[in-house]
């Protein structure tokens, strides 16, 4: 196309006005991104800084969410222990009886469980994981100077932040945070008088999550637009690293499912504050009938799980992407079955929209319809198995570096296998009717989603820490952290499968008062102790993280791992705009390891004379 083609002229004018440069815009442009302290560190529009903001806010919430679980595990493991020492932190939620012994208030027990679930699922594993790595890696790995709209990207963080503040505030109000479970099923969530946390606590919870939905949508819009429109020259879809594929599909899942959740919440808010009865029917409180008729709590469950099931993949797909990338880099081998990996991501994403009702086998859903959901639920196991097979094949015969990121990748694969297997049990409605609302389900989802996603996140943090902060995290501490987490996770969640099969229900305040469950007192103590040890293992990570930010070994070369993808072609201390000069153009896919006797060939290295583009 000639330079004076009318389209080009128009585009040049636009570029001038928008101040954007693309790769055909040659000169240096550092001045365009000039900033002061506030716009550099607080209201930054640089995706790399926003990534750090997401990560650090995520770590903050992870500490709070995990600490809550330790408190309620103490209650379950040692229901007769004196908890008075927690009073300075928990205030009137620890009641002191006549004998001077402190007890955790049962209402507050439920609030802790609810907050733990909400915080970990949304604030840590959605915003903390996907927000951090999508922001950090999308522009860097596809060769873009920033997101399509850096401004909306910044807003996405600040909506998350506001959502955090509202939720944090709800922890301190006198009636306490919401206590009806992280899924917020009505009627508990729809009737302010249902329990004490159902009042102001629930209102704040909903407001917080609506803000959160806005954050996810703004972020997701940017991720998709950026990936589809701003790839550097030569970065075709089939040359993108698997991380990018995973982030793309995750964002699509989010954009299709979070609005549905939002509409469910709107109806819930109407029920709570305007007297409608979308979800409420024929309810008696203290023997008095409410004047609500005709609503259906099952309707809420459909809406919630239409988000809820994709949400578990919104959490796990980014972790899968990170693991695929890191595993391949540190095995020094091309990822096995690149295309199969992409197709399986797409298949999982598609299927995740049509299986939601497997969470409702016990909700009075027509058994014939249930069968449909059983079949599709079990089909998800196929693409999941493809991924596991490909990871293991990538490792097989690799020149493996057993560093911390790699250990966490292997841990991820292990957890994903264990949790996927129990998913197959639960996917059969006949078995699920037994196991629903027992510790078996708790064990299943903690292993497959909780621990696996955390492992993916750790792999990512250890691996890209130098890219984020210009320093390395400490390897020895990292390895200790890994082994405590790995053994700890199985020690905590392994026994839960067993007590779950024995019928111990979830969401109970104490078990020792039931004859049927007395036998599990010792196991419950064991789980609690394992959880405490694992928790302290995580403190190691937090210490390592913040210590290494300032004191860690400095990064001296641009590409310390000998990795192929573009993020390692930017300067160690890259400014806003990522590449001070032209953006590299891409000549090959991201996994040319061990080709032509070279250990690795970066994506922007031109093809040799007569060299075929890598097949994948």
């Amino acid at each position: 196309m000639s330079a004076n083609h009318p389209n080009n002229v128009e585009k040049d004018k636009l570029i001038q006005e928008l101040g954007y440069d693309d790769h055909f815009h040659e000169h240096h442009h550092g001045d365009k991104y000039q900033t002061n302290f506030l716009t550099t560190y607080i209201f930054s529009q640089d995706h790399k800084i926003i990534a750090r903001q997401f990560l650090i806010t995520g770590i903050f919430w992870a500490i709070i969410g995990a600490a809550m679980s330790i408190i309620f595990r103490l209650q379950l493991g040692f229901p007769d222990a004196d908890m008075a020492w927690l009073r300075p932190i928990l205030g009137h939620w620890i009641t002191i009886n006549d004998a001077g012994i402190g007890r955790l208030d049962p209402e507050f027990y439920y609030a802790l469980v609810t907050m733990h679930g909400t915080i970990i699922v949304f604030f840590v594993l959605t915003a903390g994981l996907s927000g951090t790595f999508s922001n950090l890696l999308i522009p860097l790995q596809i060769g873009a100077r920033d997101m399509a709209s850096p401004f909306l990207n910044m807003l996405s963080y600040w909506f998350f932040f506001m959502s955090s503040v509202v939720m944090f505030y709800s922890l301190f109000i006198s009636t306490g945070p919401f206590s009806g479970g992280w899924t917020a099923y009505p009627p508990l969530s729809a009737l302010p008088q249902a329990s004490i946390g159902s009042g102001a606590g629930m209102t704040l919870w909903t407001v917080s999550l609506v803000l959160f939905v806005v954050s996810v949508l703004l972020g997701g819009m940017n991720y998709i637009t950026t990936i589809l429109n701003l790839r550097t020259k030569g970065m075709s879809m089939w040359r993108m690293p698997l991380t990018i594929w995973a982030f793309l599909v995750t964002a699509i899942l989010g954009l299709l499912s979070f609005p549905v959740l939002a509409s469910g919440f709107f109806l819930l808010l109407f029920d709570r504050s305007l007297g409608t009865s979308f979800y409420l029917s024929d309810i008696f409180i203290n023997g008095q009938a409410l004047d609500r008729i005709g609503g259906s709590p099952i309707l809420y469950q459909h809406i919630f799980w239409f988000l809820g099931h994709p949400e578990v993949y919104i959490i796990i797909l980014p972790a899968m992407g990170i693991v695929s990338e890191v595993l391949s880099v540190h095995a020094r081998k091309p990822i096995f079955g690149y295309r199969a990996m992409v197709y399986s991501i797409l298949a999982i994403a598609f299927l995740s929209f049509i299986v939601w009702a497997h969470h409702m086998f016990m909700s009075g859903v027509n058994p014939f319809i249930s069968n449909f959901f059983v079949v599709f639920t079990l089909i998800i196991a196929v693409p999941s198995a493809v991924k596991v097979f490909n990871w293991i094949s990538t490792l097989y015969g690799g020149n493996i570096r057993l560093n911390t990121p790699m250990l966490f990748c292997i841990g991820f694969v292990s957890m994903f296998i264990s949790g996927g297997l129990t998913g197959i049990f639960l996917g059969n409605s006949a078995i699920d009717i037994q196991q629903h609302d027992t510790y078996f389900v708790v064990a299943h989802f903690h292993i497959v989603m909780g621990v696996a996603a955390f492992f993916g996140m750790f792999a990512g943090v250890y691996n890209w820490f130098p890219k984020m902060f210009g320093r390395f995290m400490n390897e020895t501490l990292g390895k200790i952290h890994f082994w405590i987490s790995m053994i700890g996770a199985y020690a905590v969640f392994g026994p839960m499968h067993y007590i779950g099969m024995a019928g111990v229900p979830r969401r109970y305040y104490r078990f020792d008062s039931f004859d049927a469950f007395k036998d599990f007192d010792d196991l419950n103590k064991f789980i609690t102790i394992a959880a405490i040890v694992t928790f302290f293992g995580q403190i190691l990570f937090v210490v390592n993280f913040f210590w290494s930010m300032y004191r860690g070994r400095k990064m001296t070369e641009q590409n310390p791992y000998g990795s192929n993808s573009l993020e390692w072609t930017t300067p160690i201390d890259a400014g806003h705009g990522n590449w001070p000069e032209k953006i590299p153009t891409v000549q090959r896919w991201a996994y040319d390891y061990g080709k032509d006797d070279k250990e690795f060939i970066q994506q922007h290295v031109p093809l040799q004379e007569g060299e075929e583009p890598s097949s994948h």
């Binding site: 585009k11 636009l14 954007y20 873009a144 399509a148 429109n229 020259k233 609005p259 979308f278 459909h302």
Partner: protein, 188 residues
Amino acid sequence: MIDKNLGPSRYQALRFGLWIAMASITMMFAALTSAYLVRKPAGNWYEFKLPFQFFISTILIFLSSLVIEWAFQSFKKGNENSYKFGILASFLLGISFLGSQILAWKSLTAQGITIDLTVSGSFLYALSGIHAAHVLGGIAALMVSLLTAFLIKFEVSPMRILKFDLVRQYWHFVDILWIYLLIFLILQ
């Protein structure tokens, strides 16, 4: 989506971003209307006539959509007066759409169909109310266009075409969304 000869550019991206936003709003209304469909056969469903104001508001928003299209074409042709007039007119029509929605709700309440009377009524309020909230977003965008039209020197630049185009597309979108909702409610 991406012009291979020119390489990526962010201005195409913005338009694409808007489409994604519209897709996600569509999902939200798909959820609300399927909730309606799921709930209806369960009984306890009062039937009543849609207030006639809904039909007036349909005409208003449809006109508004036509006018903004005309304003957009005039703008591209450099026809300043019809551009300014068109923006103003579509803005006013948009406001009167909201006004007539409010009248519709008032007439419903006057007939005794309050938001908490029955689920069928609640749905009516919820659907039209949540839609109105999205129209309000469009009105805010139109307001910015209006200020641009009257306060900033007239100039047909690609950037301004782009910005106007985004507003226009969103405005058409909420229009079509309303027509969808109305047809949905009539068919039910």
